[in-house]
């Protein structure tokens, strides 16, 4: 018996080794190809890192962490570093639609920029409405030139939902006053891949929350195309950087779940990797903000944590160079990576059991209790009337003989 297991383990190990050897070969071939194909780099990454005061040691640490986050073995560390150097060579067209620009802000303006943020700054942005110096017709020209020069090669990154109501007229952009729908359709049709940054472009987010007057939708819904979704409000930069690195290393986007989210980042629930999970299983809950449980770092389920319903890696990679993340800071997860989370996760600071229908106290349990009460009353009335009516009657009701 034991020998069987040993043999099975050996076989498995061999198969895995073979798989990884194949992947390493593919990766090397693709990196060579990228070296050859991509436009030249403006400023080498090493110089940029140095000028930002990031040491070689920090960079090596970062590449180890990112390799692990992508669920790749250590042999890929050097390859990931090589891909990171090429990061700035991928032409990117970055579009903004109905949104707050918070994702760009979160990526570019951190107080402790780490390698992720820096690498994002090396991006070869051909067009980015927030960052570009050009305005008006000049900006439109830049976009047209990028679409022409890099047709089929650039990656289209989209921030923001698309209002589809009234023929898309709730959102018009640029000097020519084109609707978001027109612009998105044109740019995405020429892109090598479309990556949706943030929950707005992925699933619509707050613009698509009820009652959704502009009929806003996520990009893939609005245009009927397949996109890679990196939801979050804002998403973690590592999820975007890792996805692009995967593209650079293997020439393909990472495996996605059925909502278009990379499985390496959105495959497990917050609840499964949460540092407060032992308190959940022990039944130790924060009952209200600032109570003794809150001071001891107990589970936030009863103050509305939606970690059990949310697939994301926040607990593992955290934000701002791994300093903290919402649950660590003492507020429950609001489930911002899930579609329609403003509606499905509401109320955000209470458990879903306290969700109300039509306001007031109409929770599922209160409605249930009312219906059970009506049933009990019906039973009581029926019982009493049956008792009164059947007194002095034939003992057993007769059966009707009819067809």
């Amino acid at each position: 018996m034991n020998r069987d297991f040993e043999k099975r383990d050996r076989d498995l190990e061999e198969r895995i080794t073979q798989d990884y050897q194949r992947m390493v070969k593919e990766c090397d071939l693709h990196l060579e190809k990228m070296d050859h194909d991509l436009p030249p780099l403006i400023e080498p990454l090493a110089e940029q890192l140095e000028s930002a005061g990031i040491s070689r040691r920090s960079f090596i640490k970062w590449s180890a962490v990112t390799t692990a986050a992508l669920m790749l073995p250590p042999i890929f560390k050097t390859r990931l570093a090589r891909a990171a150097e090429q990061f700035g060579r991928v032409p990117i067209v970055w579009l903004h639609f109905a949104e707050c620009t918070g994702c760009s802000e979160a990526f570019l303006r951190t107080s402790y920029p780490n390698v992720d943020n820096l690498i994002l700054e090396t991006l070869s942005l051909e067009y980015h409405e927030t960052l570009m110096a050009a305005a008006g017709y000049q900006a439109e020209e830049n976009l047209e030139r990028a679409l022409h020069d890099f047709a089929g090669k650039f990656i289209c990154v989209i921030e923001g939902a698309l209002p589809t109501g009234m023929d898309g007229k709730y959102l018009t952009l640029g000097a020519k006053g084109r609707t978001g729908m027109e612009l998105a359709r044109e740019v995405t049709s020429k892109a090598a891949a479309v990556i949706c940054i943030g929950s707005c472009s992925s699933f619509g987010n707050v613009q698509a929350a009820k009652p959704n007057p502009t009929d806003a939708k996520g990009i893939s819904d609005a245009l009927g195309i397949k996109t890679v979704n990196i939801p979050g409000c804002p998403p973690n930069p590592i999820n975007f950087v890792g996805t692009i690195l995967h593209y650079l290393m293997f020439g393909a986007l990472p495996p996605l779940d059925s909502l278009g989210r990379p499985i390496w980042a959105y495959g497990k629930r917050i609840h499964d990797c949460c540092e407060r999970r032992p308190h959940y299983d022990a039944g130790e809950f924060v009952e209200e903000w600032g109570d003794s449980g809150a001071k001891m770092g107990w589970c936030l389920y009863k103050v509305g944590c939606k970690g059990p319903y949310t697939y994301a890696n926040c607990a593992k990679v955290r934000f701002n160079d791994g300093i903290s993340w919402p649950i660590m800071a003492g507020h429950g997860c609001i489930g911002c990576v899930e579609p329609d989370f403003w509606d499905t996760m509401a109320p955000l600071e209470k458990p879903i059991a306290e969700k109300t229908f039509g306001g007031g106290e109409k929770t599922v349990d209160n409605i249930g209790k009312a219906l059970a009460g009506v049933t009990a009353a019906g039973i009581a009335v029926h019982g009493v009337v049956s008792f009164v009516k059947r007194q002095g009657q034939d003992d057993i009701p007769k059966t009707q003989d009819e067809g």
């Binding site: 032992p278 022990a282 039944g283 389920y301 009863k302 059990p308 599922v364 029926h382 009819e402």
Partner: protein
């Protein structure tokens, strides 16, 4: 005093399924409400307590048990020829009888329609509803337990039901539907128990004991 003759109504497997379902549904309701409003048992260090974890395990165990009970009942209802098969669920399709049955239940008429099927028309509707409730609660339950694991039977079920999860609006929607359906069970139990007692008193056929002994007493004509 009329003569009664004994008639076998419920096979042993049906009775076993019935009482297993009763016990598991009560355990599931109690543990389910505990999971919705968890509290801590006892005091002490975090490492010494595992009450929510244990009760969730209990809930999962009986949920899977209920799944297998439903599969067993479905097998009996479809592939065997004894009483109470799927055909009996169509009892309500005779609208005339359905109306007469409602009249009888509402004490308007004193004559009960003759049953061709094992179940009375309203009974068939109620049981169809119960099957639907059971199906929904099992599906939503399997999705939620599947989300916990990356391998094994529950993960397999979770992956299989992933499109359903997304159609329900993610795990939050799944949880909400699971909660709503549990109230359906509570109301079904109230009505079912009352109707069983009422029928037992009015028909005097030994309806309640029939689910234990398997036998009812029919008036000999």
């Amino acid at each position: 005093m009329p003569n009664f003759r004994m008639k076998k109504e419920w096979w042993l497997s049906i009775r076993l399924i019935h009482w297993s379902m009763v016990s598991s549904v009560f355990i599931l309701l109690a543990s389910g409400f505990y999971i919705a409003y968890p509290i801590s048992f006892g005091a002490g260090a975090t490492a010494d307590k595992f009450c929510v974890g244990n009760i969730r395990t209990l809930h999962t165990f009986f949920g899977v048990f209920l799944t297998f009970l439903m599969l067993w009942r479905a097998y009996l209802g479809i592939f065997t020829k004894f009483h109470a098969t799927w055909i009996d669920l169509l009892s309500w399709t005779n609208i005339h009888k359905l109306i007469n049955q409602v009249k009888f239940y509402l004490l308007i008429s004193n004559k009960k329609p003759k049953h061709v099927y094992q179940y009375a028309p309203l009974q068939a509707l109620a049981y169809s509803g119960l099957i639907l409730l059971q199906f929904m609660i099992i599906m939503t339950g399997l999705i939620m337990v599947g989300a916990n694991y990356h391998a094994g039977l529950s993960a397999f079920a979770g992956n299989l039901l992933k499109p359903l999860e997304i159609a329900m609006g993610g795990l939050a929607g799944v949880r909400l539907i699971h909660h709503i359906v549990s109230w359906g069970f509570i109301i079904f139990i109230m009505a079912h128990v009352y109707m069983a007692i009422w029928t037992d008193i009015v028909y005097k056929e030994g309806t309640i004991s029939s689910m234990i002994s398997g036998r009812v007493f029919r008036k000999a004509d």
